[in-house]
């Protein structure tokens, strides 16, 4: 059992209302053993009711109290000796198929932006917020779903997280960390993991919350939107790219490698392709020289046969037609032409381009483009013009693409605004 559901589970914080209906169904009386854990379809509504009850008190808190509490939680996650972080680094890598170093890097990047200043500056909170928000997380970029949860708590709205069935640890531990490090907020966060196949549990969540933030592919978001009777804010799968001038510095190219190897190249802020303005082969050779140390700091899980096979294939094609280099857990390829090829994990794929070609590529990717990393001194005015027209909100220097600001509103979602009643 990997969940943290205040009000519903014996392991969660006091007081614990008895789940009378479930007990009656299971035992026929009220003599259930104290340690019994109810199934999710019962526990989620119980927890939701409990969190709802807490909302008025949480919302009445001075906003500065909520800011200080959340900043304290963030600091705990960056504290290398914090037991919950340590437990996360023990449990999450196996669940996520990522190395402990990659998870540690992801935690640091997610929580380093969660400062008291950033929380204070994060837009006006809703005046009359709803009572409970729901959050559906997806994928192994475990921290991707954090900002709406933080936004909800910042606004004084308790939250309930559904984590993927095979990735339960981080959501549960994060909920525990709120209880441990921000007791002044009271019970304000529940978390549980279940498979999408558990329709009863999902229905219990959907019928218990006032707003729903959903991460996942567009089909999953649409499916939940049709089932939910509450407003749904969706964050679909996206991709990012980089635009690299051939005069990019070594620091910038190191940043590009970090952006590319983080989350093993599976994040929506991973630059899938890097458009090179100039000599892509030369940039590839420089990246190849820098890659071993970056890969060592963000190592892969050894023995990824599927990733290795995919990398070998792209390395082969690029090696026959362009430039290819690889080492332990990394690859750099420079393709001979601007073809949007499938890029395997932990691979920097350079595509030669000029500004009009980059602009056209970005134009074509517009509907699914999440962010753009830049490196070098090339005048990107025409590209930026297209990005502005697309409403793209994240253009970052290489190395910072994977660390968006806390108040980054993307996918057309105003995270705090959604919570207004």
């Amino acid at each position: 059992m990997s969940r943290y559901l205040p009000g519903a589970d014996p392991s969660a914080t006091e007081p614990r209302p008895r789940p009378d209906a479930w007990i009656a169904e299971r035992y026929g009386d009220e003599s259930a053993p104290a340690a019994v854990v109810p199934p999710l379809r019962w526990a989620l509504p119980i927890c939701a009711a409990h969190l709802r009850d807490r909302q008025p008190a949480m919302h009445r808190l001075d906003p500065a109290v909520r800011v200080a509490a959340l900043a304290r939680v963030a600091r705990s996650w960056m504290d290398s000796v914090d037991p919950l972080r340590q437990e996360a680094l023990e449990r999450v890598p196996a669940e996520a198929g990522l190395s402990p170093e990659s998870i540690a890097w992801g935690l640091d990047r997610a929580f380093e932006v969660l400062t008291a200043d950033a929380l204070r500056e994060w837009g006006p909170p809703p005046v009359d917020p709803v009572a409970l928000s729901g959050h559906v997380w997806a994928g192994n970029v475990i921290t991707a779903g954090l900002p709406p949860v933080i936004g909800s708590l910042l606004a004084g709205v308790p939250a309930l997280i559904k984590a993927p069935g095979d990735l339960p640890a981080f959501a549960e531990l994060f909920a525990q960390s709120l209880a441990q490090h921000a007791p002044e907020l009271g019970d304000c966060l529940g978390a549980a993991a279940w498979s999408r196949d558990d329709a009863a549990a999902t229905d219990a969540l959907l019928s218990s919350v006032d707003r729903l933030y959903v991460f996942g592919n567009d089909a999953s978001i649409d499916a939940l939107r049709q089932r939910a009777e509450v407003p749904v804010a969706g964050f679909g799968h996206r991709l990012s790219v980089a635009v690299v001038g051939e005069d990019a510095t070594d620091d910038e190219l190191t940043g590009l490698l970090v952006d590319s190897l983080a989350w093993d190249g599976g994040g929506c802020l991973t630059p899938t392709w890097a458009f090179v303005l100039g000599d892509a082969d030369a940039v590839g050779r420089r990246l190849a020289a820098l890659a071993p140390s970056v890969s060592a700091s963000l190592p892969p899980v050894p023995g990824d046969l599927a990733g290795g096979a995919a990398r070998a294939n792209l390395l082969g094609v690029a090696g026959a037609l362009g430039f290819a280099a690889s080492g332990a857990g990394w690859a750099v390829v420079a393709m001979p032409a601007l073809n949007l090829v499938e890029v395997p994990p932990r691979t920097v794929c350079l595509l030669p381009a000029d500004l009009p070609a980059v602009t056209a590529a970005i134009e074509s990717l517009g509907p699914v483009l999440q962010g753009v990393a830049t490196a070098g001194t090339a005048d990107l005015t025409p590209v930026r013009g297209r990005l502005d027209a697309l409403g793209l909100s994240l253009v970052a220097p290489a190395g910072r693409l994977q660390t968006p600001p806390l108040d980054w509103n993307h996918d057309g979602v105003d995270v705090l605004g959604v919570l207004q009643r």
């Binding site: 095979d166 567009d218 964050f235 799968h237 290795g308 070998a312 082969g316 026959a320 430039f323 949007l340």
Partner: protein, 381 residues
């Protein structure tokens, strides 16, 4: 990505290619298919092949990028294998395409693009396939009726498997040999031929065709003793099915002992094939003594001595020592005018007693929130 040709010119002479064909054929014919070649013999021919094949510009570029000097190959393990996907995008042959006498195409069932393997001569291909086929499938040498549950070469001239099966019928088949084909596997005729067999027969089929045959059988068949079945191809793109479980279904359905179901491993990109040694071991105590240490695992394949195999580390793509699990790569001296070193996405372990095949690399690891290219194209269409 479109197919990219090699730059014009730069090929070694036809005479030099012919010399390689003749030398490799002589080495094959002059050796025992069950006895490993000395490293020096293998490396000498491999080095000559690399020097020849490096006249193909993409291949030269690939090898140079991986640090190989085509004129000074220190040993076969130092020759970087070319992934099978590359064959789908790049022409890999060291001769002018107008000299090709045969074009073999990969199945291309998964990505929609078919790789092609052009042959300037087919005789080395034939010389290479013969000894292992004889040793592992037809060790007795008697000309048995060979029944092929597949298309004759004339109906599918681009199939490397079709080429091999046609060769078997033409040069090893006894009276009554035939392709059981009628625009597709002729299952009814196959069942009739098998039920009516009054002496041992050899059935050659892909696993998928064989499964279709079994699905449609009107009860078990008792094939005469000495009969055997060659199964190849796995279940690409179809439902997952363990080879061991499949063989365990085939044998009783056809009234055969387990050893009579012989697996074959081949691909368009390779001139040589691997064979399950079970039938050979059952008929030669010396071979059972030699290979029996691994039992009768139907996923074990033995390759001829002119085709070496290594598992490569998926993280570094460097060949691993025998006994370690990785992605299988082949160094096949029967590939004279194309590329001798081929990297696959098959997972396995190489041992002194054969290659233990686990199947294709497992599916992708847990996904993040990024889009795959096909999703991108769909979303932006």
């Amino acid at each position: 990505m479109g197919r990219r040709g090699r730059r014009a010119g730069g090929f070694v002479s036809v005479e030099a290619s012919d010399r390689l064909h003749e030398d490799v054929q002589a080495a094959i014919v002059g050796s025992d298919v069950l006895t490993p070649w000395p490293d020096a013999q293998f490396d000498e021919l491999a080095g000559r092949l690399v020097a020849h094949q490096a006249s193909c510009a993409p291949l030269r570029r690939f090898w140079a990028g991986r640090g190989l000097d085509a004129d000074a190959v220190p040993g076969w393990r130092s020759i970087p294998p070319v992934p099978t996907d590359v064959w789908k995008h790049v022409d890999l042959f060291a001769f002018d395409s107008s000299q090709a006498v045969s074009t073999l195409l990969t199945s291309g069932t998964t990505v929609g693009t078919r790789g092609r393997h052009l042959l300037r001569r087919t005789d080395t291909y034939d010389v290479s396939l013969q000894p292992p086929l004889d040793a592992f499938l037809l060790p007795g040498g008697e000309p048995l009726p060979i029944l092929v549950l597949g298309a004759p070469l004339a109906a599918d001239p681009v199939s490397s498997l079709g080429h091999m099966l046609q060769w078997a019928v033409d040069l090893r088949g006894g009276p009554g040999s035939e392709h059981l084909w009628d625009g597709g596997p002729d299952l009814a005729r196959a069942e009739a031929r098998l039920r009516g067999a009054d002496g041992p027969v050899v059935l050659l089929a892909t696993a998928r065709a064989l499964a279709a045959l079994l699905d449609g059988l009107d009860g078990p068949i008792a094939l005469p003793p000495g009969s055997r079945v060659m199964e190849t191809g796995g279940f690409k793109g179809g439902p997952e099915q363990e080879r061991a479980a499949f063989h365990a279904r085939v044998a009783p359905a056809l009234g055969l002992p387990a050893a009579a179901v012989v697996a074959e491993y081949g691909m368009t990109e390779l001139g040589s094939q691997g064979w399950g040694p079970g039938w050979a071991m059952a008929h030669d105590p010396a071979l059972r003594e030699r290979w029996g240490v691994l039992g009768d695992d139907p996923d074990r394949f033995v390759f001829p001595p002119w085709c070496r195999v290594a598992a490569v580390d998926p993280d570094t793509l460097v060949p691993l020592p025998d006994g370690q699990r990785g992605l299988l790569a082949f160094w096949d001296l029967a590939n004279i005018d194309s590329c001798l070193a081929v990297q696959t996405a098959d997972v396995g372990v190489v041992t002194p007693h054969g290659v233990l095949l686990e199947g294709r690399a497992p599916g992708a690891r847990p996904r993040g929130c990024s889009l795959a290219v096909d999703e991108i194209l769909q979303a932006t269409r």
